[in-house]
Symmetry: D2
Subunit: 344 residues, 4 copies
């Protein structure tokens, strides 16, 4: 329906064709509701294997803000807050969903969207050392995303140090994997699904932006780490009646390594675009290796390009310069990339 | 995956085949996210026409508890509660989602799942007449469902009187249409979509139980009656990134009257089962004309039947008797009904 | 400021004179804020002794609704509700404070304001036996008051059975003692402070209605049973900066048995009024032995009496009859009782 | 009870003696509960006169965090947040009370604890200009305190500009006056009570830190600007049963200009201490003219002084330096100041 070249986001198409095929094949089979069906069991088992978390509790939710709000509510006690990068999705783009659940986001400075083990430890130390800390919000968990909002990646070393810091301080580490497939497909990435399963206390594997019609798989490696999570999900209005619809999608994504393959097209096309931008002298706002490219344009250049190319608007940094985002995805077409590069 | 005859619920299959066909056909078309796409516009326009609400604001959400929680939060002020039948879904089977949003459910006695204009007026009068009403929860809206939890139907006269009562008292009327297609397909029903559009201040048209993979269409007849509802939805984690996926389903359901046709199979098969039960001397718990049949069994009969037929368990009414539910749907097969009747 | 005889409530005067004396004597002594002062320590120690709860955590809050809301929030997990009599203060007269904290009140039928161990057990059993209980609100604690809203008293046997039921089911028992002094002063009462300390998991000793300017003493017999309760209190806006002001009042009330003495005047004067009412053929709505008398009047009688006596309005039971409440207190004057009886 | 010289806070004593005298004189007079008494009417009328807000709604609450939480909940819609200095009490020292009410604190950079009309306008502009603002928290009101957390004062010009900015953007301005008496007593202050009444949409006049046993007077200049605020207060557990106890205190504070006089001793003694500190070469952390003095000490100096003087700990700014606070109050004794200066 969109006529211009569009690189606005990574959720502009439907689903990987294999997913629609499976949905169609299984359509008239009867199954139980609320995730108590065999498709859900199968998908969970495949995810447990892929992440090396044989005991994990797994739930399929509809979207990322929902997954974050449910899990943060489930992991925190009412007097606790969640540590996040100031740029974290939960701090900026979830319309206050975390606060609506009663929790403060304890926002830390970031580097390219990332926070560090040291800054987390400082935040915790500052709290406990303060004479008045009982009048303050206790840091109760850590939220990170991989890739981050800015498309950057945690190294395995960075993630390991954050995990150690969390465990030393006895607070859970939660990872938002809305675009996890694009991290996994990235040559620069050295964090595997089993690493995440080992280092995090909860995380979600993104479907919506990674080839599904919708859906995120929430994984809690330790069984019953969060008692009554089923009811917590229901209370948040997040329980899918036909759980199988999400499950069949994840079952497909975790068959024949589709989830680790599906991001490759996005990374390759983003690489070509990045190279073309650099060649032509455009200024990348920051170095990020995944499927999002942030470019600082002169305003008139941004306006001129916008007539032919739909990009995402990020911010005006001054009266002359604008940051825009180009996003590729599993569905990005070679011809569109050629056309884009041509226009640039 | 289920081998026994199964009449447990009306959401055991995928979607009407036409829906999967449309999802497949449109799969690789690019569109904007968050409901700002042409499929959403088309579906909304068809619903506006079907309900004769040309100015209506419409949003597509994922499920019924979510729709109820979002809309009740959006319609009430913090010091207000929602009037509902004691048996209402929001009062019993939403895990406290309404209270989690800060609101009390003001539960009224019911008849076959229905409440009356008079009982609503009494509840409101009791509040305002009480010297201490400022210490109490103010009735702020009315929640009903059509069909009700017990499969019963409001007559147009009953609904009109409830609507008049709400408007006289200046509180909104909200209708939960999780199974609305089964009401519309029912010969006993005299409430049309335009009636609902005219008499209610907000309602949702159920998709999940009426032939969609998932999804409910929230309709607010008066434009901008609820300011910033988009953000309220986002804050509840209820905004679908690929809004089109739900929209395409509703666009299909509202093409060629599919939504008003889709329930007929359920009503016809339920009618056959009801007749067979009555013939064979089984006791219907209550008279309901839609796709849910409630039967009071002797316990040993219920147990014996359960070996061959999956039914829904409702409650033990004493040590000898059990209430069970048989649900039909758009997808119920003639052969399964034959087999069921045979077993009975 | 009120010229008519007034028996509207038991909080119409200031404080027991001994309390004002202590506040005046200690006024210019410096002390730490937030309950970390020696007056607070002294008052807590006296309450621990009076209740035989040597390890108890104790906090002084400003009012009853606040104490209930804070403690129910502190004792429940988000997916749990609180069992209460339908007539319980939390269910009727707290403006939805419990729901505002996210919790459903699971209202049980009552007898003269009381619930029973059996009805509590049934409520819990109904939940766990329901196939769909994960879609419902889990009973997470029990709320009772002593005396109840209707002035009735739990016997030690009744309270013991409720306590056993709670412990068997592993859910806490919380007792609202807004008018506890009037129970303790009542000859019919066989529940002592140490009984309450032994049988309840949390309770509050009422000050506001029992001789203090304001204040309720929340007692949690087991130390650290509720971690970080200080912060939970602060988060609810319930932490008194000058904690000593409440503490000095409780220190006075628990010196020389003042708290167990202070209610006697109320019980004696209520007894005289009750006898006079019965003598003159008035109909007591229910038999309650404490400081609240509920009378069912013919409407014209109620209106005629209201010209000379201020009573509390409870409800119209039909077009001819009205229930009114006469409340006595520690401060009720003999002459006012004489005058009241005279008018009757 | 404290033997060292103590300058820890401005709420270490009871109340101005005149307040205790009035409480004692009126103790046995009967009055209605919940603020519906003549003392409350009298106090409100005096405050209306002092602030030139003849139509104002006024409520007496118990404490500052409570007042802030109630008013911010009452003024915001669920999807809105409150703009505040990053150092604002609501952002740092209220244990997440605002977030517990569902609202994000939109924290702005500060200068000596103050924010500016320009920074407020930028925050609002940033929101509305952002393409994705419907996914973000809408700025819904402005919170300031006078004096600020750092003891600094808004000039009338600054306050006027902030007020104009709020009105231009149609969002309310709320002022936290926990220490307002100390501003009013300060020669540098040019903001009067009528200025505040004219420029703010809601504010509270602090009692707890300004000579009362407890209590804050919430003032809303426009009548019925916040419908059903009584019930909102009750729902927050913030309604005082014996409203007169707070009212009598404010009635006393607003008789014979006591409230504008009561802070003078604090300002004078703070001035003497500030001069002595400067004389002896101590480093004031920032210039603030009210009753709080922030001093940057070498750590060993802070430790040595702490043996003789109790001060408030603010923060360690590096391994060698510590910021401490000295607070004076209406009750500070000349001899204690002499002794303090002597030790310095």
């Amino acid at each position: 329906m969109i006529n211009k070249l569009s690189f606005v986001s990574d959720y502009m198409e439907g689903a990987h064709p294999q997913i629609l095929k499976r949905l169609t094949e299984t359509n008239m089979v009867k199954s139980s509701g609320y995730g108590l069906d065999e498709y859900s069991e199968s998908a969970k088992e495949k995810i447990r294997n892929a992440c090396s978390v044989p005991e994990a509790d797994i739930f399929f939710l509809a979207g990322g803000t929902q997954a974050n709000a449910v899990m943060i509510d489930a992991l925190l006690r009412p007097y606790q807050g969640v540590i996040s990068a100031r740029t974290g999705h939960i701090n900026v783009h979830e319309a206050g969903a975390i606060e609506a659940g009663g929790h403060k986001v304890l926002a830390l400075p970031h580097q390219d969207g990332k926070i560090t083990a040291d800054s987390i430890q400082s935040c915790i130390d500052d709290y406990w050392r303060d004479d008045n800390h009982e009048h303050m919000v206790m840091p109760g968990m850590v939220y990170i995303s991989h890739p981050t909002e800015y498309g950057s990646l945690y190294s395995l070393d960075e993630l390991s140090r954050i995990s150690r810091t969390c465990r030393k301080n006895n607070i859970p580490l939660y990872l938002d994997g809305a675009r996890l497939a694009y991290a996994l497909a990235c040559p620069e990435n050295d964090v595997s699904l089993p690493d995440i399963g080992r280092l995090c206390d909860a995380f979600y594997i993104g479907g919506t932006k990674c080839g599904a019609l919708f859906g995120e798989a929430v994984v809690i490696p330790r069984h019953d780490y969060i008692p009554h999570l089923f009811t917590i999900i229901k209370q948040h209005g997040a329980l899918l009646a036909k759980g199988r619809i999400a499950a069949i999608q994840f079952d497909t994504l975790f068959t024949d390594n589709l989830y680790t393959e599906i991001g490759k097209n996005a990374i390759e096309t983003a690489g070509r675009i990045r190279a073309a931008l650099t060649d032509r002298g455009y200024k990348l706002t920051l170095q990020s290796p995944t499927n999002q490219i942030f470019i600082t344009f002169k305003k008139e250049v941004a306006e001129s390009l916008s007539e032919k190319i739909e990009m995402g608007f990020i911010e005006n940094i001054d009266s002359d310069h604008t940051v825009m985002r180009i996003a590729t995805s599993w569905a990005t077409q070679k011809e569109d990339v050629d056309a884009l590069i041509n226009i640039l």
